[in-house]
Symmetry: D2
Subunit: 134 residues, 4 copies
């Protein structure tokens, strides 16, 4: 996908956070986010909610890339395991890969990496595909 296509599928909320998509295919989406001071939690590192929102932006985008005409997608559930903190000022990378792409549901695993390449969080989420006909 071109940078313009990637920009077009990213929703307003991750854009307002500063997320950029850098690679997209039906099997894998990659994006980056430079962590700003307003992304902080009370320990002075990236807020868990910001980490989940970053990862969710990729999972939703990955599901969207797989839609056919007239279909939409909705997130059924999302589970995050937090492993390491991400410092303010770092550029974090998230890589979302398909665990399953079925007719009714798709399952995505997104790994959020710190600037040193170590995993900060792992997110698995289920997206349900909805057709216009219901």
């Amino acid at each position: 996908m071109t940078p313009e296509e990637l920009d077009a599928i990213l929703p307003d909320f991750p854009k307002s956070m500063g997320v950029t998509l850098t690679h997209g295919s039906p099997e894998c989406i990659v994006g980056t986010l430079t962590v700003q001071p307003h992304h902080a939690n009370r320990n002075g590192v990236m807020h868990g909610g910001a980490i989940m929102a970053f990862a969710d932006a990729l999972g939703g985008s990955a599901a969207a890339v797989n839609l056919e005409d007239g279909q939409t997608t909705t997130t059924l559930e999302s589970k995050t395991n937090f492993i390491r903190p991400i410092a303010i000022g770092e550029t974090a990378t998230a890589r979302c890969e398909a665990l399953h792409r079925g007719r009714r549901t798709t399952i995505w695993q997104t790994t959020v990496l710190r600037e040193d390449g170590k995993p900060a969080a792992i997110v698995i989420q289920t997206q349900m595909t909805l057709s216009a006909a219901g």
Copy 2:
């Protein structure tokens, strides 16, 4: 807790999103968020990532309220089930209640409610309590 105390425990990221805490006790935290256009997903409703970040702000705050001097808390994991969309412009309410408050871990269930009072999402997360001594 007073409005000043509630404001003091809320981290920068949820503040930047517009979250306000309205009630706080060791067993329960309540907060609100008026959904802005920049909180939108590609379907034009509140982004799942924003819903998770909103709920996580309450879970983390609830864990923080239960800390003793010298302790900190870190989120181990968070799981969200999405039930209904929240429209832009609505004021959503999140209510976080303790499922378990143990010595090493606390478990919190946060229900995000739409303006019509119907549940939009249910989040359960585990916080681990860390002492300064490690």
Copy 3:
């Protein structure tokens, strides 16, 4: 539901474990399991896998009670938080209640209680309803 109806909806695996359903309605299913020595983990208490299997038996049965003719149900995902151990010899009770009963999915929360009434585990799972037509 009568004891015979409850017995008829319980699958072979939970039956082989010793699960009995004691109450059933479209909104709530209750069951019990007396913990046997062969249900033990390496710490000598009820195995987490046995706790999850017990709870899953109720979630699946609850979803089944809500099916219309020609529909089946499949579990999409299940998340368990473990709170307290259950000793061998205790009779544990699981109570499964609907968090959401939609047209395409149902969401169930099952609390597994020890004999002293304290929660041992909390399970939330999503079931997808499938029609014969696909």
Copy 4:
């Protein structure tokens, strides 16, 4: 690890189900289970609870392999995504690999594979390490 060592770490519950561990190292545990008729759910395939119990046996064993003298481990949480059914009579394989091995917690991802090698379920769980001193 030798077959005798692998047999010694497997608890009673998975043994009673028919689970056998076939490979063990600090980073990875592999096991198999031939699906018996009493493992069935109401759709006539392997019960989700049996799949979770199978996977949990490996996650717990993997955590146990990493303990030092005087330590024990307890499962904090477990999340399963179900992808495909497993037929009665098949020999399923589960492969558990470390996502994180920290001082306080370990995180394990177990993939349950059908006889045709396709993934049937993916389980991520968090284990907390406890020392005798508390």
